[in-house]
């Protein structure tokens, strides 16, 4: 528990109605989407940069951990208070401050839900492309902390490509401003890019300047069924090689198709081993032509069937197939280990083959789907942890999956971040000097390690106090 004088100062800063220390409120802020729980000592809902600055200054003086939290929907533990402390919830700071149609930028507070911004800018004929699956509830602050991606990243890039400037409360309570309203800016270090994807360990974003695009006039959605997974993977490479960049190039393997089949009435050929969902966008006049090109390129790779949506409803029906995968997985086994490895696009076929081998060797179902167009594959290892020895098997499977991805020139995480869930694997990818450089940045900005401690860095390196408060309440640690 926090000392009385600290609680009093917190209440003075945010107002007593925005400070909670009761068990009920600590429990409702003890989790994210990782199935782990760790109780914070206090929960505050600040309303301004100034309040956040004062809270962080206090926390730094008193050496109390501070954790920024948006929607709390992360998959890697980024908002888990593993060392207790103050959870700082940013949902009150949810104003869209400005949409500048002359300069194509938006200025927002961190608590704005991504989908809401998209809706607002699209009314004005503008476009904010990053579209994580959680866009209808995750916040821009959270998207920035994790550098969120999504299906459209194949063509449009990830969150970092749209952040022009930030206002940030640093771990010592200072307010800094990075970047600005201009497309070009080379003054000093690019702290904006450093902060995007820093998982709330380097500061708390309180104001964001985002770049917008004109909204594409039209889009066309296609579904292509393949006779082999290799065929689908090769089609992906062929499409990319032909210098067409679709908006999305989503992929589902046989196991994913089977899951959807069980949950919904999906009329695909029975011999179908993989599906690609491809969308193109741009000028209306070019859509039919682009769609035809994509289908022509795919055809030599064992295409069983193609569907092209002519209406919004048909397009929605195709996307529904893709969206049905995740919810249908639990029918396989109760526990899901959802990883988001990424490999160079040309290595997608090799990665998929390796995943099949791993699945067979360890006799665990692995369902793969995701953003094949940018090599980002969602690997879902579905197990029942109540089976004896399964914990160990899962660790071995994940270890092998990550090693293979890194071996192919890829990465252990494309868009979910490291948090606590992937911290044990970070050294597979980053060598000691690289990690040391990152830790030096962390120490320079956060000398007392109060800002979201216990994340990203492996424990021995971070030299944190062992997280004693890290006690999963009910469900075993998996993500």
């Amino acid at each position: 528990m926090l000392a009385e004088h600290i609680l009093k100062r917190l209440a003075d800063i945010v107002g007593p109605e925005h400070l909670a220390t009761g068990t009920v409120h600590r429990i409702t802020h003890s989790f994210d989407a990782t199935q782990r729980q760790c109780l914070p000592d206090a929960v505050v809902h600040p309303g301004s940069t100034e309040e956040i600055s004062q809270i962080v200054r206090l926390a730094n003086e008193e050496r109390i951990p501070v954790l920024p939290r948006g929607a709390g929907s992360g998959f890697t533990g980024g908002s888990l208070p593993v060392c207790g402390g103050i959870v700082l919830v940013l949902t009150r700071m949810n104003r869209i401050l400005e949409i500048d149609t002359d300069n194509l930028i938006a200025i927002v507070e961190p608590g704005v839900v991504t989908g809401r911004l998209q809706k607002e800018v699209e009314r004005l004929g503008l476009f904010y492309p990053p579209d994580p699956a959680s866009k209808d509830f995750s916040t821009l602050g959270g998207n920035i902390a994790e550098c969120a991606g999504g299906p459209r990243c194949v063509k449009y890039g990830v969150t970092r490509d749209y952040v022009l400037g930030l206002t940030v409360v640093t771990p010592t309570g200072n307010v800094i401003r990075t970047g600005g309203r201009t497309m070009k800016n080379v003054v000093g270090y690019d702290l904006t890019r450093l902060l995007v994807g820093s998982e709330g360990t380097l500061g708390i974003v309180t104001r964001v300047i985002l770049r917008l695009l004109p909204k594409p006039e039209a889009r066309k959605t296609m579904l292509v069924a393949f006779a082999s997974i290799d065929g689908a993977a090769q089609a992906v490479s062929a499409i990319i090689r032909s210098k067409i960049i679709p908006t999305t190039l989503e992929f589902m393997d046989r196991a994913a198709i089977d899951c959807v089949r069980r949950a919904t009435s999906l009329d695909l050929p029975l011999e179908c081993q993989a599906v690609l969902i491809i969308e193109v966008d741009g000028d209306r006049a070019q859509m039919t032509d682009q769609a035809r090109k994509v289908l022509d390129i795919s055809r030599p790779f064992g295409v069983l069937e193609t569907r092209t949506a002519e209406t919004a409803e048909e397009s929605e029906a195709i996307w529904k197939v893709r969206r049905s995968v995740s919810p249908s997985l639990r029918a396989l086994n109760p526990h899901k280990f959802n990883e988001d490895i990424v490999v160079p696009r040309s290595q997608v076929p090799a990665m998929i083959r390796a995943l099949e081998t791993i699945s067979t060797r360890y006799r665990v179902p692995i369902v793969n789907f995701g953003h094949a167009g940018d090599g980002n594959i969602h690997v879902n290892v579905m197990v029942d942890l109540r089976q004896p020895g399964m914990e160990v098997t899962v660790r071995q499977v994940l270890d092998e999956v990550f090693r293979t991805a890194v071996g192919l020139g890829g990465s252990v995480s494309g868009e979910h971040g490291i948090g606590t869930a992937k911290a044990p694997y970070i050294t597979m990818e980053l060598d000691a000097p690289t990690l040391a450089a990152m830790w030096a940045v962390k120490q320079a900005l956060d000398p007392n390690n109060i800002m979201n401690p216990g994340k990203i860095f492996p424990e021995n390196l971070a030299n944190d106090p062992p997280p004693a408060s890290l006690q999963p309440l009910t469900v075993p640690d998996h993500d």
Binding site: G22, H25, D32, T91, R92, D136, R330
Partner: protein, 418 residues
């Protein structure tokens, strides 16, 4: 009759919650509060904590558990189909069983548990004048006569002198070749909007059906469930199931989304189901070909613009197309969609009585879409929604009238084009 599953029996469903947070996009309360305790995921975590003994059923917990409209939007959209609304009802039941009913819950019990009382109160029309209504203390059961209608300064419809049962016979004989249908009217269509209740009974008869409106039906139990009164829900369910048990019926018709939602849950709440299928009247009329009949009528030269509000308890049951199809076929009106048509109106059982300001803030989110639609009439399939919509419309000073879809259908069938 049993009181349905207890909280402990929901352990498996509670464990199904992956804490993904997608409920945040659909919870009307969370959209307003932005607080984790308001949303389904937070309540599921609390339910788990109650079961494991980590948290007491204290005042703070009760406050969080009170913050739920039982609209079911979260459950309908949940990737893992966690029935949070049912779990919240079980939590409230546990709280009420341990600590007793709240003052409001006692009012609900006194009122909905006693049909004669409800009838008598409605007859004393002067009590219902809004001016006098304001003078009734907030804790009085009188304020609860229509459950959610009992709010300070709320716009109320002028109260009718006679209730539905005085206006329609218990049985209307139709064509023997046509279905025999039961009618469950519910409190609002019996006492508050009996003219709509009457259309509910007479329209199927007009289409040839025999219609049975049993007098022994009572409150559906939604306000009782909302206040955690499990025994009362069980006894009301039993009374209503028995009311329809005497006859061979093809289906039981409802025109109140909330009643339909509650009765569809009788099985989960009590372990028993009504003898015949529950069918929302829009679905029934569409099936009976009324859409085509309406579309064949000559269009009125001066048509008004109508828009539709989705009641949560129809939307979450997948009933969204049928009311729109009927409205689109009306000769006297042009249907326009409004943005946020599917957003909750904010009434939510006894929610509006416990949290009047929050309830209105939720309802006010409908205003922008309604105004932009240019509609002068907003139709819906739930008297609770209609009551709430008219209230938020009046407070915003808009010239829009909230009506039941059935009233417009009745108008099309009975009035001359103008």
């Amino acid at each position: 009759m049993t009181e349905g599953k207890t909280l402990a029996e929901f352990q498996d469903e509670i464990d199904q919650c992956a804490r993904c947070g997608s409920c945040q996009a659909h919870c009307p309360v969370y959209l307003e509060t932005g607080r984790e305790g308001s949303v389904a995921r937070g309540k599921i975590v609390l339910a788990a904590a109650v079961l494991s003994g980590e948290v007491e059923l204290d005042q703070r917990l009760r406050e969080e558990i009170d913050l739920c409209l039982l609209c079911g939007s979260c459950a309908a959209q949940c990737p893992n189909k966690v029935p949070t609304n049912t779990i919240v009802a079980a939590l409230r039941q546990r709280i009420a069983a341990t600590h007793g009913l709240s003052a409001l819950g006692k009012g609900v019990a006194a009122l909905t548990g006693s049909k004669p009382l409800l009838g008598t109160l409605v007859k004393s029309a002067d009590l219902l004048a809004p001016l006098l209504f304001k003078k009734i203390p907030a804790t009085s059961g009188l304020r609860l006569r229509f459950g959610p209608a009992a709010l300070k300064n709320r716009s109320l419809p002028p109260l009718p002198e006679h209730n539905l049962f005085a206006q329609v016979p218990e049985f209307l004989q139709g064509d023997p070749a046509q279905p025999v249908v039961g009618v469950f009217a519910g409190c609002a269509l019996t006492y508050l909007y009996p003219h709509v209740g009457e259309i509910l009974a007479r329209l199927p008869h007009r289409l040839g059906c025999s219609v049975y409106v049993p007098r022994s039906q009572g409150c559906c139990g939604m306000p009782a469930r909302s206040s955690g009164n499990g025994p009362l829900v069980a006894s009301l369910a039993e009374a209503n199931i028995n009311a329809f048990a005497g006859r061979e019926l093809d289906c039981i018709l409802t025109a109140c989304a909330s009643c339909r939602g509650m009765m569809a849950d009788y099985s989960a709440a009590t372990g028993h189901t009504p003898a015949a299928h529950l069918v929302d009247l829009h679905v029934f009329l569409r099936r009976q070909g009324l859409g085509e009949q309406l579309a064949a009528l000559p269009k009125w030269p001066h048509r008004f613009r109508v828009t539709y509000h989705d009641p949560c308890h129809l939307r979450t049951a997948g009933i969204t197309r049928e009311p729109r199809a009927l409205l689109a076929a009306l000769p006297q009106a042009d249907l326009v969609e409004m943005e946020d048509a599917s957003l909750c109106c904010g009434l939510g059982g006894t929610f509006a009585a416990v949290h009047p300001d929050l309830s209105r803030a939720i309802g006010d989110r409908k205003l922008a879409g309604l105004q932009a639609s240019g509609a002068t009439i907003i139709a819906s399939g739930c008297p609770g929604c209609i009551l709430q919509l008219q209230d938020i419309i009046d407070r915003a000073g808009l010239a829009v009238k909230a009506v039941h879809t059935l009233e417009l259908i009745h108008q099309a069938l009975t009035e001359a084009p103008s």
